[in-house]
Amino acid sequence: MFLFHPALILTTGAIAAATLPGRLRRVSLVVFPSLALAAVLSLEPGTTWVYPVLTVKLVLLKVDALSKVFGVIFSLIALFASIYALHIRNRGEHAAALLYAAGSLGVVFAGDWLTLVVFWESMSITSVFLIWYRGKPRSLSAGFRYLLVHTLGGNALLAGVVLYIAGGGWEVGSLAGGSGSAFWLILFGFAVNAAIPPLHAWLTDAYPEATVTGSVFLSAFTTKVAVYTLIRVFPGVELLVWAGVIMALYGVVFAFLENNIRRLLAYHIVSQVGYMVAAAGMGTAFALNGGTAHAFSHILYKALLFMGAGAVIYATGREKLTDLGGIARYMPWVVIFYTIGAFSISGVPFFNGFISKSIVIAAAGADRRPLVELLLELASVGTFLSISLKLLYFMFFGPARASRPVSKIPLNMYVGMGAASVLCIVFGLFPALLYNQLPYRLYYEPYTVDHLVSSVQLLLATAAGFWLLLPKIGVKNTISLDTDWFYRRPLAVLFQRLVDATHRVDRGSEQAGTLILEASKPYFNNPFLAAERLNELFGSRSAPRGLPGKSEPVRAQPYDEHRYRFPLGVTVFWVMVIFGLTVSLIWIYQG
C-alpha cells in the first residue's frame, strides 16, 4: 500500500530529473513513473484523502473506478514516453514532461473543484515548455499562442468554478441538466482542452511544433484529461453528442489535406476525441464505458503513432510528406511499430482500437441514434484512409524524396515504441483486460461474426477507394487554414494596428511637446517678454502715436533675473522658523 499521491511521486520524479546527474537521472526517469503506476494500481476505489487548509477541506485524492482507469493509463504512458525520451539531455524538458503528467493525475484524482483547477492550470504551464524546448522560431510563437488559448480556457473554468463554489458547490460531480453561467463557463473551459471545434486550433497548431519526445507526452494528456472531466461532469449533455460527431469528421477531412506528418496525426486526435466526446454526450452507462475504453486505447496507439513519426523526424530531420518517402528499408522496425499503431487507430480487428471504438458506435445504435452511428463509421473510414494508407504510403514507401537517414535512432526509442505496440496488441486480443477496469458493468462482445465482417468490408472498401484514386491524391507543400487563422491574421493585424497607433500618438505628442517647449523657452527666461509681445500686438495701436519715447525705457533696460530674486537669507530664515516650530511641536506632544 502506497501512502503517496501519484502526482506527488511524479513531482518528486521531476525534481530528481532536474537535479540528478547523467545515469542517475535516467534511472529516475524510469523509476518514478513506475512508482506512480504502482501507486495508482494499489489505490482502492472509495479511498478519499481530505486535507483541511484554512477554512476549506481540500479533497486531494478521491478514487473511483472511472478515475482509477484514467490514472492507470496516464501513469503507464508517462512511463513509456519517459523511456522514449531517455536519450534527451535537456533536464528542463524531462522535468516539464513529468510535472505535466503529474498535473494530469492531479486533475483525475481531484475530489474538489479548487484542486481540479489548480492542477488543470499547472498542466498548461508545464506543457508549453515541451513546445518551446524545440527552439525554433515557429515553436516559440506556436507556444505563445498555445499558452494564450489555454489561459483563456483556464480562466473561463476558474470563473465558472468560483461561481459554482459561491453557489454552495464544492465536490466535483455531475453538472448535467444544469444551466446558468457556471455551467457554461466550466463547459467552455473543458471544451477548449478537449479541442472541440472551433476551439481546437491550439492543438493542431502547437503539437507539431513541439520536440520529438514532447509531442508524445502532449498527445496523451491534455485532451484525455478533458475527456475524463466531460465524462465526470457533463454526462448526457446532448450538445456534446453532435460536437463529438462534428469533431470526428472535421479532424478526418483536415488530416487528409495535411502535409506535416505530426499535424496529420494531431488532426486525428481531434477526430478520435470526437468519439469520446460523443460518448460523454450520450451519457448512458454503455456509452460512458465506450468513451473511457476508447480514451484508454487511444492514449496507447496515439502515443505510438507520435513515437513512430518522431522517430522518422529524428532520423531524417524532415517532417513533411513532400520531403519524405522511400525510407522503409532504412527503418523496418519503425515501419512495423507505426503500422501497429495505424491499424489500432483504424479499428482493424485484433488491435486495441477495434475493441473500444466499436463500443461507442454500438452505444450510439443502442441509444437509438442511427445517424450518429453511421457518421462515426464514416469517420473511421477517413481514419484508415489518412493514417494507415496515406501516411504509411507517402512516409515510408511511395516516391522517394528523402535521402539516407542522417541519424541513428537510439535504442530507448525502440523500447518505448515496442512497449506501446505490445500493449496495443495485447488489449486487442484480450479485451477483457480493459473491460474489467471500466466504471460500469459492460455486456459487450467485440468479436462477433457481424462485427468482424462489417469491419473487414469497411476497411477493404476504403483501401480499394484509396488505390483507385491514388494517382489523384498526391501530396502538396501546403498548410490548411483553420480557426487559428482568426487570431493569426485579422486579430494579429488589428493588434499591430493598435500598437502602431499608440506608437504614432506617442511620437507625435513628443514632437509637439518639443515644439511647444522650444517656442516657450524665451518666455521662461524673461517673464516680461510676454507682456512686451502682447504690447507689440495690441498695445502699440492704442498707444498715442506721437509719443514713442514713453515705451522706450522698458526696452532700454534688459531683463535681469537677479533683480527679482529673494536674498538667500530670507529662505534660510523661513527654513529656520519652520524647523523650530516642528521641533517645538514634537517636544510639546512628547511631553
Binding site: 478526418v252 477531412v253 483536415f254 487528409f256 489535406l257 502535409n259 513533411k320 445504435g365 443502442a366 442511427p370 452511428e373 453511421l374 463509421e377 464514416l378 473510414v381 477517413g382 484512409l385 462477433t448 461474426v449 457481424d450 468482424l452 465482417v453 462489417s454 469491419s455 473487414v456 468490408q457 469497411l458 476497411l459 477493404l460 472498401a461 476504403t462 483501401a463 480499394a464 477507394g465 484509396f466 483507385l468 484514386l469 489523384k472 491524391i473 502538396k476 507543400n477 501546403t478 498548410i479 490548411s480 487554414l481 483553420d482 493569426r488 491574421r489
Partner: protein, 75 residues
C-alpha cells in the same frame, strides 16, 4: 505483380466476408436495416472513401490550402 496479388487477396477476403455474412450472421441482433443487408459496409466504405477524398480535395483546393509559408508572410 504485387498489386495484382493484393487485388486478388482483397477480393477473396471480401467474398469470404460476404459468405460469412449470409450464412453465419445473427440478424436477430440487428437494430437497423443496414445491419442485415449483405455487403452494406463494403458499399458504404467505398462510397464514403470517395466522398471524403473528393470532398476534402475540393474543400482544400478551393478554400483552405495555402502555401507552406503563408503565416510567415508568403502567399
Amino acid at each position: 505483380m504485387r498489386q495484382r496479388m493484393g487485388l486478388v487477396v482483397g477480393a477473396l477476403v471480401l467474398l469470404g466476408s460476404l459468405i460469412a455474412e449470409v450464412f453465419y450472421s445473427h440478424p436477430e441482433h440487428a437494430e437497423y436495416w443496414w445491419q442485415t443487408m449483405p455487403g452494406f459496409f463494403a458499399v458504404f466504405g467505398f462510397i464514403g472513401c470517395l466522398v471524403l477524398i473528393l470532398g476534402a480535395k475540393i474543400l482544400g483546393s478551393r478554400w483552405l490550402q495555402r502555401h507552406d509559408r503563408y503565416y510567415e508572410g508568403g502567399e
